[in-house]
Every structure is written in structure tokens, then in C-alpha cells.
């Protein structure tokens, strides 16, 4: 146990030196081409916002079912099958048919090549489930169908969220999927998340529809409130153009009317439709509806064939900028709700870093002084090991670009406290061995060998706790699990290689010294 070959010494020195260098690269700027990794600071240390958004898929499901009833009706109409009493209730479509048609309906829905009800061979499941009680049918989304629907609306939503966050221009946002209906947004360095929150809270579903007094409009009508919440207007459900038709939107100052407006440009299809609608609808009011509220309802004075126009609605420059941004980035497939928010101001983050560093320094000093008093020369060895251990730990964290959080710093301090355990176990064992063993080298050998199982046991139990924390914990707590877990490995390395190297050198030079430890 005490013998180290030259090669091994070289390897240990190089390894330790490398990690110390990596750890130091966080403090001093090296050539970026050579090494550009750094420990990331968690949001609780650098300040920033953590937002967890949940997609409300109910409206999407409702809409899909709505479309589906139309599709079903038309599909069977072509086949001369009469569908009766079709209706939607609690996310189920109900209808009934005559006895003769029953089998052909079932055939269509259970056909694996059906284009009405897609089949997913990988999951052995259709998109829709069909149930019949006599001549009454009930259709709803299968489990797999729902999952598909959710992931696709999540895919769309995350894209829109990304665009909106990018437009605001924060540095290095982190946008990730969580489960199949959540999106995690991390915005480092953002002091005031108010604006982003209000931007993400809006679906931004824009439609242009005519105001009508005709209750029997072919497309149906609905009463909508104006943005100010006071007035109301009856609006046709027929959509002239929607947000999808927009190519661009920009806030502008209308110098004539002296107000801020949002000017927009339409795509080819939109421009055509807009031109036609404005030519036939001169004198009518065209309502501009955003998320179920009327922004404004100007009277059409002229045919607009240019494919561009403007929205006015008593905007300030800020609200006009935000509306333009929302229109440019597109509508969310479904409303988002912020279900968890954690924001830390940058000065609190800095205070936390300072407090953590002071605690680390003090904890470190206490341990070092205590070990030196208790073990003298071997305390010194432990302390040197402890320092190297700390650097290796920081080096590993840097190498993996781990995120350091406030609990993570606590994990490092705790590692310092617990790291001496292995050395203490060894030294205490050596002391015991020396009671009946006169040969120093043999006693040291015995100390290392006989303490091994206890050290292994002790570290595995802590490691198990750290692993569970890593997988179950969130955010800052995960940072604690990382430092605690990595700390165990660096501790074992430094105890069995570095500390043992020093001990072996010291012991072999003091082979015959009495009262060695």
C-alpha cells in the first residue's frame, strides 16, 4: 500500500495539476481556443428568472373535435351514410346511425389504412377510439392520440415562446420541454420578468372580422368586448384574415393622427382576401380581434389592395412594440399559464455568492486548524489533500460545465467537512495498529487495508443519497446533489492517491521513529 512507482507519481501530479489549472481558469482568463469552459452560475447566484409554463390543451382538443365532426359528416355524406344527432359532450363525439350502416362505420374507424382515423403501428393504436352501444356511437381521442396532440402543440408552442423570448433579446435564455405539456424558460440576468411574463401570457390570436347586425349571419355571430372592457359589438365568426397571413408587423408613429400604430404586411393569400373583403365591405366596420377582445373596429373607407395596413387602438409606444412583436412571432396553439416562477435579483445573487464564499473560507479554516491540532504532520497532509481536493472538485465541475447554485456551494462546504472522514478513518486505524505492531510500515499498510471497507461503505451511502437527490430534486437542489456526488469521487481520489503518496513518503523516511502519529 505504501509503494508508489515513479510513473504513478507522475500521473497523480499531472492529473492534480491539470484539474487545478482547470479550476483556476474560472478566475483567470486563458486563451479561449485552449480552454473555454466555465462553471455556470445558477439563476439563484447570477440573478434571473425561472418560469414554468403549462399549455392548456383543452381549447385545442375542443377545436379538433369541432373540426372532426365536420370531417365525419362530410366523409360519410359522400358514402351516402346518414349520420344523425352528431354532438360534442365532455370531449366525446356522439352520433347515431341506422342498423344498415353500423358495420360500415365500424369498418372505417377500425381500418388500419383509414385516413379518417390514422393508425400508429408503433404503438398499435388508432388516433381515435370508437365505442358503440347499439346504434349510438361515442368517439374520443385514444391515449396515444392525446399524446400526439399534446406533443405537437408543445412543439409549436416552444417555437413561438423561443421567438418571443429572442425578440426581447435577453442573454442566453434556456428554453426546454418538460413532460408533454410544459415548457421551462430560464432567463439569466433578467431583473424584471414582467414584460416577458405578459408576452408569454398572451396567445396572440389575431383575426379581422366584420362587425354585423345580422343575427342570422351564415357563419354565426358572437358578442365581443372591446379592449377597454366597456363597449361591446356583435362580430361575425367569418374570419377575413388571421395572424397567419401576416408577413411582418412593426410599431410606427402616425404623424398625421399623432398616435402610435402597428403597421402590418400581408402574404399573398392574405392580401388577396383583404383586398376582396375591403372592396365589398366599404362602409362596414372591420373588427380587429386579439385573443377574443376587439382592439379597434375602423370603418372601411377604401379598397386596400396593397396588402399592407395598420392597426390603431390607443397604443403607447411600448404596447405597440409588444403587439407587433407578438404578431411577428405568431400565435400560440393554446394558452399558456405560468405555474411556477422564481426570480432572483442580481444583487441578491451577488450577496449569496459572497456569503457562500465567506462560509466556505470559514468552514475550511475551522477544519484545517482542527485537523492540524489533532494530527500535526498528518493533519498537514490531510489539509494539503483537502485543498487539492477542493480544486479538483471545482475542476471537475468546470470540465462538465456544471451549474453552481447556492445549495451547491453548501454542498462544497459540506464536502470539505466530510472529506476528512476517510483520512481520519485511516489514521485512527493506523494508531490502533501501532499498538501491537512495531514496524511502522506494516502498521501503515494495515491501516490502509483494514479501513477500506468502512470508507467504501460510508461513501456509498452518501452517494446513494446524492443520486436520489439528483434525479428527484429540481433547480438549486440539483446543484447540491451534483457537488455532493462529485465531491465523493474527488475525495476518494485525493485520499487514496494524493494523501497516501504524502504519507508513504513521510513514513518511509521515518521508518524507525517512535510515536509516529
Amino acid at each position: 500500500m505504501l509503494y508508489f512507482s515513479k510513473l504513478r507519481i507522475l500521473f497523480i501530479s499531472l492529473f492534480s495539476f491539470l484539474f487545478i489549472l482547470i479550476a483556476l481558469s474560472n478566475l483567470f482568463k486563458f486563451d479561449d481556443n485552449f480552454f473555454d469552459k466555465k462553471i455556470n452560475l445558477g439563476l439563484d447566484l447570477q440573478g434571473g428568472s425561472y418560469l414554468l409554463l403549462e399549455i392548456d390543451n383543452e381549447p385545442v382538443i375542443e377545436q379538433k373535435l369541432q373540426n372532426l365532426t365536420t370531417t365525419i359528416r362530410n366523409y360519410f355524406k359522400e358514402k351516402n351514410i346518414k349520420i344523425n344527432n352528431i354532438k360534442i359532450e365532455n370531449q366525446n363525439i356522439f352520433f347515431n346511425v341506422t342498423e344498415n350502416d353500423k358495420q360500415s362505420i365500424l369498418d372505417v374507424f377500425q381500418d388500419e389504412n383509414s385516413d379518417l382515423n390514422p393508425y400508429y403501428p408503433r404503438f398499435k393504436s388508432h388516433q381515435l377510439e370508437i365505442e358503440d352501444t347499439g346504434l349510438n356511437f361515442k368517439i374520443n381521442f385514444s391515449r396515444q392520440g392525446l399524446i400526439r396532440l399534446k406533443t405537437s402543440s408543445q412543439d409549436q408552442a416552444i417555437e413561438i415562446v423561443r421567438r418571443r423570448v429572442d425578440e426581447v433579446g435577453t442573454n442566453e435564455p434556456n428554453i426546454l420541454k418538460r413532460g408533454n405539456n410544459r415548457i421551462l424558460v430560464e432567463l439569466p440576468g433578467l431583473d424584471d420578468p414582467m414584460r416577458i411574463k405578459s408576452l408569454l401570457g398572451k396567445t396572440a390570436n389575431l383575426t379581422f372580422r366584420f362587425v354585423t347586425n345580422d343575427e342570422n349571419d351564415r357563419f354565426g355571430v358572437e358578442k365581443l368586448k372591446f379592449e377597454n372592457g366597456l363597449e361591446e359589438a356583435t362580430v361575425s365568426k367569418r374570419i377575413i384574415i388571421s395572424g397567419e397571413n401576416l408577413l411582418d408587423a412593426q410599431p410606427k408613429m402616425d404623424t398625421q393622427a399623432n398616435q402610435t400604430i402597428v403597421s402590418f404586411t400581408l402574404d399573398r393569400v392574405g392580401a388577396k382576401r383583404f383586398g376582396k373583403a375591403t372592396s365589398t365591405g366599404i362602409g362596414k366596420q372591420l373588427a380587429i380581434v386579439l385573443d377574443g377582445k376587439i382592439i379597434s373596429a375602423p370603418v372601411v373607407r377604401d379598397t386596400i389592395a396593397s396588402g399592407s395596413g395598420q392597426i390603431s387602438g390607443g397604443f403607447t409606444f411600448q404596447t405597440a412594440t409588444d403587439l407587433a412583436l407578438l404578431l411577428r412571432s405568431g400565435a400560440l396553439p393554446a394558452p399558456l399559464e405560468i405555474i411556477e416562477e422564481r426570480t432572483v435579483g442580481p444583487d441578491l445573487g451577488q450577496d449569496s455568492i459572497n456569503a457562500g464564499m465567506i462560509a466556505l473560507a470559514i468552514g475550511f479554516m475551522l477544519v484545517i486548524i482542527f485537523m492540524f491540532i489533532k494530527y500535526k504532520i498528518f493533519g498537514l497532509i490531510t489539509n494539503v489533500t483537502l485543498i487539492v481536493n477542493l480544486f479538483i472538485l471545482l475542476g471537475v465541475l468546470t470540465l462538465f460545465e456544471a451549474t453552481l447554485t447556492l445549495p451547491g456551494i453548501a454542498g462544497i462546504i459540506l464536502t470539505v467537512g466530510m472529506a476528512v472522514d476517510a483520512n481520519v478513518l485511516i489514521f485512527e486505524r493506523i494508531k490502533e495498529e501501532l499498538k501491537d505492531e512495531t514496524n511502522n510500515i506494516l502498521a501503515f499498510d494495515g491501516g490502509y487495508t483494514k479501513s477500506r471497507t468502512a470508507i467504501l461503505d460510508a461513501n456509498i451511502t452518501t452517494l446513494l443519497a446524492a443520486i436520489i437527490l439528483f434525479f428527484m430534486g429540481s433547480g438549486p437542489v440539483k446543484g447540491f446533489a451534483v457537488t455532493l456526488g462529485v465531491g465523493i469521487f474527488t475525495t476518494l481520489f485525493s485520499v487514496y492517491f494524493i494523501a497516501r503518496l504524502f504519507t508513504s513518503i513521510y513514513v518511509s523516511r521515518n521508518k524507525d521513529k517512535e510515536k509516529l502519529i
Binding site: E341, L366, L414, E428, A454, D457, L463, P476
Partner: protein, 296 residues
């Protein structure tokens, strides 16, 4: 040599009382869950005007119709922690509060931290916290069961339960807040307590193989004494680290480090006075380990 075994019965009685009292506290008084597990909103506020104090803040917040609002000093005289349930989970509540506070205090204050946890998320966090603790206890049980004979496993697990329950009992008694970091602390306590117990058990088993004529009552005492200086030194250095975090690591880590300090103290105590007494009560002898050795 210290005669720890003289007090086995006394301390067993004490531990039983502690566990029963803690359980009663947990059942009847319950834990003071923070917003992580209960849902709600937390605002850490720093004031630069002495007019802003707990009572003026409380007045202001109570006028805003936010439900139950708690306002506390946080660390020093200029920092405050405001918590409320925010049942409707209103979107722009923070903005409204700012507007409201501006009216009375101008801009002599600053939000340093805002946390808002919806009811769904808090329920999930609580569930995953409970799962994490149960899972860690189960994993420890499996590990110790593989490494040692069942009598040892029982001792270690009882010690573990003792530490977790009594630590939570103290938190219940003083209404200290349970948040995500406390779960992390409890898990670390589980690891530490196990670590401490295992080191002593290792020695007990070694001594069982070595001496056939010493009764377990004596043998545990010998083993405790042989590992005592290690137990003390490791506990001491760990406590040094934790005390440094508690006193210098800032307000946010206070609860976390306190839970760990309690855990380390209870963990050290339970390794000696619970884990070992289980071995004595189950009359573990040399046969127990020899039989297992033969099986292997």
C-alpha cells in the same frame, strides 16, 4: 474506555419518548410547509427607507386583499419576507403589488426575490419530496441488507427513522419552514446517519469474528470506543462546515444548515444509542456472523 453500555436503557427510553413526541407533533401540530409545498407567493423585499417596517408593510399588504399575508424580518433590519397564498394564482399580482407599494413608499424598496408556485406544482413537489425520502430510505435498507446481517439492517434503519422523525419533530415544534432545501437536508442526513452507523457496525462485526467469548453487550461498547475518536472528529469537522454555513452562508441557507446540524447531532447519537442497542436486544452473537459467512 467509556461505558456507553451502562446507559443503553436510559437512552432507549429517551429515544422512544423523543420519537413518540415527534410523531404526536407531526400528527397534531403538523409541519410548516413553505410555498414550495403549499403553493403561494413569496417576496423578499429590501427597504432603503426606515418608514418601511413590518407593521407598515403588513398594513399595506392587508389592504390588497391577498388572503393570509405573513410579513417577517429576514436577516437584517432592511430585509423583509412577505408570503401569501395567492389562491386565484392571478397573473399580474406582482405588478399590482408594486403599483400599490409605490403609492405609499415611493421607490424606496426593491424586490430582491419573487417566487410564485401554483397549486399543481406545489402538490407535485410535495409528492416528489416524499418519494425521494422514501426511496432513499428504501435504497439504504437494500444496501445495508446486502452488506450486513438482518439484525444490523434493522438497527441501522431504526436509527435512520429516528433521525429523520426527530429532526422533523424539531421543525414542527418550532414551526420552522419546510421547503425544497429541507428535503435535500433530510436526504443528506439519511446518508450521514447511515455512514456513521455503518462504520461502527463494521467494527462490531470485525470484533464478533475476533472474540468468541465477549458478550454483545460488552462488544458493542468496545467497538463504539474503538471508533469513538473517528466519530467525534468527523462529526466535529462536519459540524464546523455546517456551522459556517449557518452563521455566514446567508438567510436562504439557514433552515437547510439547521436541519443538517440537527441531523448530524441526532445521527451521531443514534449510531451509538439506537443502532447498537438493537444488536444487543436481538442477542447478536458470533454465530450470527459466522452463519452468514458460511452462506456466502
Amino acid at each position: 474506555m467509556i461505558s456507553f453500555n451502562k446507559y443503553y436503557n436510559h437512552f432507549n427510553l429517551l429515544s422512544s419518548i423523543l420519537i413518540v413526541v415527534s410523531l404526536l407533533l407531526l400528527i397534531f401540530k403538523g409541519l410548516n410547509f413553505g410555498i414550495d409545498f403549499k403553493g403561494g407567493t413569496l417576496i423578499e423585499l429590501r427597504a432603503s427607507d426606515s418608514k418601511i417596517n413590518v407593521s407598515s408593510l403588513r398594513d399595506r399588504f392587508n389592504q390588497m386583499d391577498l388572503g393570509d399575508v405573513s410579513v417577517k424580518k429576514f436577516g437584517n433590519d432592511t430585509d423583509f419576507l412577505v408570503k401569501f397564498e395567492n389562491k386565484d394564482n392571478e397573473k399580474n399580482i406582482i405588478e399590482e403589488i408594486k403599483v400599490n407599494l409605490d403609492k405609499s413608499f415611493g421607490n424606496n424598496y426593491d424586490f430582491r426575490r419573487v417566487e410564485n408556485v401554483g397549486p399543481k406544482v406545489s402538490a407535485e413537489l410535495l409528492k416528489s419530496g416524499v418519494i425521494a425520502i422514501s426511496l432513499s430510505l428504501a435504497l439504504m435498507l437494500i444496501y445495508i441488507w446486502i452488506r450486513f446481517e438482518w439484525q444490523f439492517s434493522l438497527g441501522a434503519i431504526l436509527a435512520l427513522f429516528h433521525d429523520v422523525i426527530v429532526t422533523l419533530g424539531v421543525f414542527s415544534l418550532f414551526s420552522l419552514e419546510i421547503n425544497l432545501s429541507i428535503i435535500a437536508a433530510v436526504l443528506t442526513i439519511v446518508g450521514y446517519s447511515m455512514n456513521d452507523t455503518v462504520v461502527i457496525f463494521d467494527r462490531v462485526r470485525e470484533n464478533l469474528r475476533k472474540y468468541s467469548d465477549i458478550k454483545i453487550f460488552e462488544l458493542t461498547n468496545i467497538s463504539i470506543n474503538e471508533t469513538l475518536s473517528r466519530t467525534i472528529i468527523t462529526s466535529a469537522t462536519t459540524l464546523f462546515a455546517l456551522l459556517a454555513i449557518y452563521f455566514f452562508g446567508g438567510e436562504i441557507l439557514k433552515g437547510f444548515s439547521l436541519a443538517m446540524i440537527l441531523g448530524v447531532v441526532f445521527g451521531t447519537y443514534s449510531s451509538i444509542y439506537i443502532a447498537n442497542t438493537v444488536l444487543v436486544r436481538l442477542r447478536v452473537s458470533q454465530k450470527t456472523v459466522i452463519r452468514e459467512d458460511e452462506k456466502k
